[in-house]
């Protein structure tokens, strides 16, 4: 019981410590806690500091195109999770999960997972 409690506390502490490290040093006040998954075609993968951007276009049933902007962690962090400057190519169809959407209602979110055309999943696991 006691060790369960300690494990729970450690897990919570670990989660808190990794979640606050997200998107340093720029703020994260612009995002809420909504989660969205969108299928689209990559238009650009910007491997830049302080954070990377995955740009992709999604089409609805009527053929209207939405230009999405997905913000992800810094290159120096992503590289440790198997995500590199060469992970995405323009024209590829990807499925992007974003946790934290722009409060403006614009199609902007914080990327947490991307599925490539071959089914490979790119993510930072449980870390942020």
């Amino acid at each position: 019981m006691k060790s369960g409690l300690i494990k729970g506390f450690l897990a919570a502490a670990a989660f808190l410590s990794i979640s606050v490290s997200l998107f340093a040093h720029h703020g994260n006040a612009a995002y809420d806690s909504r989660s969205v998954t969108v299928k689209g075609v990559v238009t650009a993968w910007e491997w830049k500091n302080p954070h990377t951007f995955l740009k992709f276009d999604a089409k609805d049933e009527q053929g209207n195109v939405t230009h999405w902007l997905g913000e992800w962690n810094a290159p120096s962090t992503l590289i440790n999770f198997g995500i590199t400057a060469k992970s995405f190519k323009a024209g590829e169809e990807v499925t992007v999960t974003m946790n934290g959407m722009s409060k403006t209602g614009q199609p902007v979110g914080r990327v947490t997972k991307v599925i490539l055309p071959d089914g490979q999943e790119l993510s930072m696991g449980s870390e942020r």
Binding site: V20, G27, T77, F81, G82, T104, Q120, M124, G125
Partner: protein
Amino acid sequence: MSKRLVATAIVLGVLVFSPLTRAQTTEKRESGKNIHRDGWDRIVPNPPADQQAGPAPVRDITGIWEPTPGYRDGVFATGPRNYPSDTKPEHELPFTPLGLKTWKEHKPGFGTTAVPIAENNDPFDICDPIGFPRLELFNLRAIQVFQTKGQVAIIYQNDQVWRNIWMDGRELPKEILEPRWYGYSVGKWTDDYTFVAETVGLDERTWIDNVGRPHSDELKVTETWHRVNHDIMEFTMTIEDPKMYTKPWSPLTKFRMRLQPEWFDIREMICSASEAQDYNKTVAEEAVAEKNAQKKAQPSK
């Protein structure tokens, strides 16, 4: 037979844990797992949990060090470990009235006083030098320490800068003619395993940490680097600034750093002004849109 088994196990063990073997380890790049890589994309080994570290060498903190147990433990986006910016009373700093006023004028991206990026006035967001001590209180990553007879020099992954801590007997400057982003530092060994550095003359434009804690021209920073054993060093910092704080405070106490293999290549981590400009423009446009949306939602008076 058992002797042969033991010998084989020893040889295998040496091969597995040898820095050379590990440096050359190639592992399939697998996403979702945190597999730490150095700047040359080589996998950095995690030390075995039961590894017994040898004794620390005398008066020697040279080498490449990273925060431990997690190499990202020194990010401190919401303020340093002892004083994160939150609502807990124990994390309130002993501000003077001027300190509190100056802190409120600072508009950081994190902590209780965080603002949207368009309203942010963090000097590091436009790639001004990160300055000292923020260099060690936000994004403390890998460092490499060099020693000569007259100084300890530290190079930092963070913003790719270095500092010289003089130990040739000189004293801290009595009068600061030219404040510096990284100040003026002197150091000394207080025992065979503890190096203490003092720094003054710091540029007032810099923030102490990532949540905008301020400092004045009277800031004095004391760093204590204590080598616990061969592999581990503990880092403590104390802030004294009578204009901004009524008493000294320690943002970090015994923060642990681990010695890395000699082949460890420190990754580039530079604030590029053009990339920052691009980033701020992209995200700030969102923030402006947000403000406009809020204005629309408010009924006119």
